[in-house]
């Protein structure tokens, strides 16, 4: 079980959160097809640290990015999306 420190709520259990996508797969509305294909379908799929977009969906429902190691599940560097209030 992973413990994720929500920037708003503090440390909470994994099952309150939803993984959305690696940050590299966040697409821009005006991106061209080549860029979209690379971002969506040719990702690094890293074994090791990966910057990801998560949501505290069963808590405060805010979005955050964090760095999670996909081999050890160590989490660090949680940052609120849109800046802290």
């Amino acid at each position: 079980m992973m413990l994720i420190t929500c920037p708003h709520c503090g440390p909470r259990a994994l099952d309150e959160f939803v993984f959305d996508r690696p940050v590299e797969a966040i697409t821009a509305p005006d991106a061209d097809t080549q860029t979209l294909v690379a971002q969506l379908y040719k990702r690094t799929n890293a074994r090791g640290p990966s910057r990801e977009l998560w949501r505290h969906s069963l808590g405060c429902r805010s979005w955050m990015t964090l760095v999670r190691d996909t081999a050890t599940h160590q989490i660090c560097d949680v940052e609120p999306v849109g800046g802290a209030r």
Partner: protein, 417 residues
């Protein structure tokens, strides 16, 4: 040597002390016609059919750990072909037909048990979807039967079929030819049969590099030294991205985690594989008597082979709601496998942009049932350089061209499937 009842008797009288080893432990040769990376069921089956069907004799299977130690030994052993989309139906039905003759073909009892694969429906919407799936199967010549509640109850009396059940059952869809097989035996059976045809199975031999010259593959670097090869086949579902990265390729695959669990063994209580249209819960009973449970993937990318307890709780909750008698059982073990989640839920069987380098991966959580078909079709690709008609839709570039095979109709993010 051929295994037989007579051989079992004579060896038994000698205390099982003189069985010959089932496959060799050879040193790597300097060059092979074909090197297959990955000694799981798919890789070993590929080697077997390459040797048997295509007459290729100079083959190595290179395995980082021990054969069958990855996802081949980590699944819930379910075999079925009850799919909705024609490419998936053709692939899984091709595979199911090979399952039906596998024990005789390999002279190894893989304990394939076509005990029926039942999908339960819990709502009007579930029943409509099951009927649609059954119709799609029938249209493809794959027999399916839509069952009423009374028929489901007769088939599987331990299910909670009351109207007060947490997940009330309305009926189901059964593929009677579906069932289970002994997963380890599949790896061992293919290994033994491939070895008998001259295939070198190199265990504890990790591939650390893919050697290229002028855009063409010429061999692999391994922990046991360089091995030359005319053709190299990647077959390491779970770690496809990492191995492909050795050749500077990026794949439309994300690595996720899927857990499974077994209970203590009990007397026979469930002779069908029970699944559900709405729940992510798979229930069957192994030949040893254990109740085998599978659940949802953990829904985030990981290579850890170690899952979260809330998924175990969820699968156990659903299983106990469906079959209340399971509540008295103690769980013995839980484990996890790393699965290649492709971005449409279908596998990839294709050549890559590196000449002579091929890819078999992206099996999501449905790789075990495809083992023989995947091996047969990959052998065809490796031998001829072009795909068999059944494997042709499973192209590597289908995501960028828009020809996805989205069985679940759920879009590109694996955690939404």
């Amino acid at each position: 040597m051929t295994y037989s009842a007579l051989k079992l008797l004579t060896e038994g009288l000698k205390g099982h002390k003189t069985w010959p080893q089932a496959w060799r432990d050879p040193a790597p040769k300097s060059h092979y016609d074909v090197v297959i990376i990955g000694g799981g069921g798919h890789g070993l089956a590929t080697a077997y059919y390459l040797a048997k069907v295509h007459g290729v004799r100079n083959i190595a299977v290179v395995e980082r750990g021990w054969i069958g130690g990855g996802n081949t030994g980590r699944n819930t052993t379910i075999v079925r072909s009850n799919y909705r989309l024609p490419p998936m139906q053709a692939l899984m039905e091709f595979s199911l037909k090979l399952w039906e003759g596998m024990s005789l073909d390999l002279n190894f009892n893989v304990m394939f048990s076509p005990r029926g694969a039942l999908f339960l429906g819990h709502s009007d919407s579930d029943m409509l979807q099951l009927a649609q799936r059954g119709d799609a199967m029938e249209a493809a010549g794959i027999t399916a039967e839509l069952m009423s509640l009374a028929e489901v109850k007769k088939l599987c009396p331990l299910l909670d079929t009351s109207t007060l059940a947490r997940f009330p059952i309305q009926g189901g869809l059964i593929q009677r030819r579906g069932g289970t097989a002994r997963h380890d035996a599949v790896a061992w059976g293919y290994a033994r049969a491939a070895d008998a045809l001259g295939v070198d199975i190199l265990q504890n031999c990790e591939v650390t590099g893919i050697v290229r010259q002028g855009g063409r593959v010429v061999g692999v670097e391994t922990s046991k030294g360089r091995i030359g090869a005319d053709r190299v086949g990647i077959c390491v579902a779970g770690n496809s991205g990492r191995v492909a990265a050795l050749a500077d390729l990026r794949l439309p695959i994300e690595s996720h985690l899927l857990q499974a669990f077994v209970s203590e063994p009990v007397k026979p209580m469930l002779d069908t594989v029970v699944m559900s249209q709405s729940l992510h819960c798979y229930i069957s009973q192994s030949d040893k008597g254990e109740i085998v449970l599978g659940g949802n993937p953990d829904q985030y990318p990981t290579y850890s082979q170690r899952g979260s307890p809330h998924r175990i709780e969820e699968a156990a909750t659903e299983a106990m709601a469906l079959i209340p008698a399971l509540s008295r059982l103690r769980m013995l073990r839980s484990w996890a496998g790393t699965t290649d989640m492709s971005f449409d839920g279908a596998p990839i069987l294709d050549a890559t942009s590196v000449e002579g380098l091929y890819l078999n991966g992206g099996w999501c959580y449905g790789g075990f049932k495809a083992t023989p078909g995947s091996g047969y079709l990959y052998a065809h690709l490796l031998a001829k350089g072009v795909n068999h008609a059944v494997a042709a839709p499973f192209r590597l570039d289908r995501f960028e061209t828009g020809h996805t095979i989205d069985e679940a109709g759920a879009g590109p993010m694996p955690q939404n499937r």
